[in-house]
C-alpha cells in the first residue's frame, strides 16, 4: 500500500526550529510541526512569529466559519478559519454564545444563592465547581469538614471524572467519523448518571457538595450498585480500547495531529492530560493533595508523543485509574460518621474577609476558584480558572495553523475544551 500521509514521513516530535520565527529574547521557538510544513511549501503564506502573513483579498484564501452550531465543535463556540486549499492558515476562536455572566451574578448574591449557580459553569462535570466553591468558602471561614464527607466528595469527583471522560471518548471517536464507540460510551455515562441520580437527586447538576459537607449520605445498597456499574463500564472501556485505539482510521488521523511542543507548555499555561501527554508528570491530585487523595494509591500517567493519539491514550489510562480510585475509595472509606457540619443560618451568613485560591484536578487539568471576600454576606469577587480558557482560545489558535480542515474537529476535541468555563 502506498503511504499517502505526508505526516508519517516526518520525525515523531521536536522538529528543528525555523530561522526567524523565535520572537522575544530567551523565548523558545513556538513553531509547530504543521507550521514548518507550511513554511516548506512555497504556495502557502509565510508564517512570522507564529502568525500567517497573507492578503485575504488576493482570492487565494477562503474565510470559513466552523460553528457555533457544528458537530465538530465542543459545545457552543465557533472558529473563524482562513483556509488556503484545505489547510488552515489562520484561526480565531469566538466565544460568548453561552455567556451568562456567572461571576457578575455571584457578586450580587449571598453565598448560599451562589451555590446552585456554580455548577452551571461546566456542564459535563459540574462537581468540580461545587467542590471548589465549597472548599474556598470553608477555608476562609475555617469550617472543618467531617472525614466521611471528604471521602464522599472524593468519590463524587472521581465519578464525575469518569462520566466526563466517557462523554469525551465518544466525541473523540465521532470527530474521526467513528460513531459506534460514541454510542457505547454515552450509554456508560448514562449508567454513571443513574448512580448520581440515586446519590444526589440530579443527573446533570447535582448541587450536592454544599459548604460544610455533602447534602446526604449513601442510599441503601448504593455501594454495591456502584461497584456493578464500574464493572460494566470497565468491560465496555476494554471494548472501546480494542476497537478505537487499534482502528486504522483513528491511528492514521490522530497520530501526529496537533503536536504540543514541550517548550510551549508553560507559555500557554497548558495543564492536565494535554501537558501530561507532552511528558510533564503534573497532577494537582499528587502535587497538592486535596480531600483524601494522599490516602489513595495512583500514579500520574504520562506520554511523550504529545499528539491527539497520545492525549487520547493518556485519558484512556486515566479512566482505568479513575475506576480503580472509585474501588479504593469504596474499600477504604469509613462506614459511619457525620457527613455534614452545621452551618450558621445561611440566609444571614457573613463570610470572614480574606482571599484564597483553591484548585483541583478536573478532567482537563487545573481547575481553580479564587474567592475574595470583604466580610459581607456576598462575595466581592469569585474568579473561575478553567483550563479551557487557554486550551480553546490561544492554544487552539496556535495549533490549528497548518492543520487540515477535516482534522479541525479532531484537534479541538483532543484538547478537551468546554466553552462555558471560557466565558463564565
Amino acid at each position: 500500500m502506498v503511504n499517502t500521509d505526508t505526516r508519517s514521513d516526518r520525525p515523531a516530535r521536536r522538529g528543528t526550529p525555523i530561522p526567524g520565527t523565535s520572537s522575544a529574547r530567551g523565548v523558545p521557538n513556538l513553531a509547530t510541526r504543521s507550521q514548518e510544513h507550511i513554511n516548506d511549501n512555497p504556495l502557502m503564506p509565510p508564517i512570522v512569529d507564529g502568525k500567517a502573513v497573507f492578503d485575504l483579498d488576493s482570492g487565494k484564501y477562503l474565510k470559513l466559519w466552523q460553528g457555533p452550531q457544528h458537530p465538530g465543535i465542543t459545545g457552543n463556540m465557533s472558529l473563524e478559519l482562513v483556509v488556503c486549499g484545505d489547510e488552515i492558515v489562520e484561526c480565531k476562536t469566538h466565544v460568548g454564545y453561552l455567556h451568562r455572566g456567572f461571576e457578575k451574578l455571584m457578586e450580587r448574591r449571598s453565598y448560599i444563592q451562589c451555590f446552585p449557580i456554580v455548577c452551571r459553569i461546566a456542564v459535563p462535570e459540574p462537581d468540580f465547581n461545587e467542590y471548589l466553591f465549597a472548599a474556598t468558602v470553608e477555608e476562609i471561614q475555617g469550617i472543618e469538614v467531617p472525614e466521611r464527607a471528604q471521602w464522599i466528595r472524593t468519590l463524587n469527583l472521581e465519578m464525575a471524572r469518569l462520566a466526563s471522560f466517557f462523554m469525551w471518548m465518544g466525541g473523540m471517536a465521532g470527530a474521526f467519523g467513528l460513531g459506534t464507540q460514541g454510542q457505547w460510551t454515552v450509554t456508560m455515562r448514562d449508567y454513571i448518571l443513574d448512580r448520581f441520580e440515586e446519590l444526589t437527586g440530579g443527573r446533570i447538576y447535582h448541587m450536592y457538595m454544599i459548604p460544610g459537607g455533602v447534602r446526604g449520605d449513601f442510599p441503601e445498597g448504593f455501594t454495591d450498585r456502584l461497584r456493578e456499574t464500574i464493572d460494566t463500564c470497565e468491560k465496555t472501556l476494554q471494548d472501546v480500547e480494542r476497537t478505537l485505539f487499534n482502528n486504522a482510521v483513528f491511528k492514521k488521523r490522530a497520530k501526529g495531529l496537533g503536536v504540543i511542543h514541550p517548550d510551549i507548555v508553560d507559555q500557554f499555561g497548558i495543564v492536565g492530560p494535554n501537558a501530561r501527554a507532552a511528558g510533564f508528570a503534573r497532577d494537582v491530585r499528587k502535587d497538592h493533595p486535596y480531600l483524601v487523595y494522599d490516602q489513595l494509591d495512583f500514579e500520574v500517567v504520562t506520554h511523550t508523543d504529545s499528539d491527539a493519539y497520545a492525549r487520547a491514550w493518556v485519558r484512556l489510562q486515566e479512566m482505568y485509574q479513575s475506576m480503580d480510585l472509585i474501588r479504593q475509595i469504596l474499600d477504604r472509606m469509613p462506614a459511619e460518621g457525620p457527613f455534614f457540619t452545621k452551618l450558621p443560618n445561611v440566609l444571614h451568613w457573613n463570610v470572614k474577609p480574606g482571599h484564597i485560591y483553591k484548585k483541583a484536578e478536573c478532567t482537563r487539568g487545573e481547575y481553580g476558584y479564587y474567592l475574595n471576600s470583604d466580610g459581607s454576606d456576598k462575595p466581592r469577587r469569585i474568579y473561575v480558572r478553567g483550563p479551557s480558557y487557554t486550551h480553546a482560545v490561544s492554544l487552539m489558535e496556535h495549533l490549528s495553523i497548518g492543520c487540515n480542515i477535516a482534522d479541525t474537529a479532531g484537534l479541538m476535541v483532543s484538547l478537551h475544551t468546554y466553552p462555558p468555563e471560557v466565558e463564565r
Partner: protein
C-alpha cells in the same frame, strides 16, 4: 499527607527568601502566607512586569495560572492579580498590583511576550473591566460580548438589575417575594427573633 510530599514542599523560610529578594530589588511588600503552598505579595505598577519576569526566570514561577482583577470601588482602584505557580517547589504565588480605576491611569503593561496565553486574559479584562493593555494583540476585538456599548459589565458601578429593568420588561401581573422576609414570616418565625 505522605512523607514524600512534605519533603518536596516549599518551606516558609524559602518563601521568605524569595520575598526578601523581591523586596530588595523591587520594593515588593505585603507578604501574606495563606497556606504552606500559597502566598500573596503586592507590588507597584511600574515594577510589576519586572517582578513577574524575575519570578519566572530566576525563581521558577513559570506557570501563569490566571490573571484577573478585583474591583475595590470604595478605594477607587482595581487590584490586578497575577497568579503564578512554581512546579518544582509546588508553590502558588499571587502578585497583586493596584491601579487606579478611572481615567488614563486605568491601564497596565502587557505581559503577552512572556506568556502568549496572557493576551486572552488581557482582552477579557479590557472588555469586562475597561482596563487598557497597550500593545496587547487583538485587544479591542470582542471577546465574550458582541456589540456591547454599555459600561464594562464587571465594574461594580454597572448595575445588572437596573440594566435588565431598562432593557427588558416583566410579564404583566408578575409578583415578587423577598426570600429572606418570607422565611422570617412563615417558615421559622421563632428563629427569626434571635437575629
Amino acid at each position: 499527607m505522605s512523607d514524600q510530599h512534605t519533603q518536596t514542599q516549599i518551606s516558609s523560610a524559602e518563601v521568605h527568601e524569595v520575598f526578601a529578594d523581591l523586596h530588595t530589588r523591587y520594593g515588593v511588600r505585603g507578604l501574606e502566607e495563606k497556606r504552606a503552598d500559597q502566598a500573596f505579595v503586592r507590588t507597584d505598577r511600574d515594577e510589576a512586569v519586572a517582578v513577574l519576569t524575575h519570578l519566572r526566570d530566576r525563581h521558577g514561577y513559570t506557570h501563569l495560572a490566571f490573571l484577573t482583577a478585583v474591583d475595590q470601588i470604595e478605594e477607587g482602584r482595581f487590584e490586578l492579580l497575577y497568579m503564578l505557580h512554581n512546579y518544582e517547589l509546588r508553590h502558588d504565588l499571587g502578585v497583586i498590583v493596584e491601579i487606579p480605576r478611572e481615567g488614563d491611569g486605568c491601564s497596565m503593561d502587557t505581559i503577552h511576550r512572556m506568556w502568549p496565553a496572557a493576551a486572552t486574559y488581557q482582552r477579557e479584562l479590557r472588555e469586562m473591566f475597561g482596563i487598557d493593555f497597550p500593545g496587547s494583540p487583538r485587544l479591542h476585538e470582542d471577546f465574550a460580548l458582541e456589540g456591547w456599548h454599555d459600561l464594562p459589565p464587571m465594574r461594580k458601578e454597572f448595575d445588572t438589575r437596573e440594566y435588565s429593568e431598562r432593557t427588558y420588561y416583566a410579564r404583566p401581573g408578575r409578583t415578587k417575594t423577598d426570600t429572606r422576609q418570607h422565611m422570617k414570616d412563615t417558615i421559622y418565625p421563632s428563629e427569626a427573633e434571635t437575629w
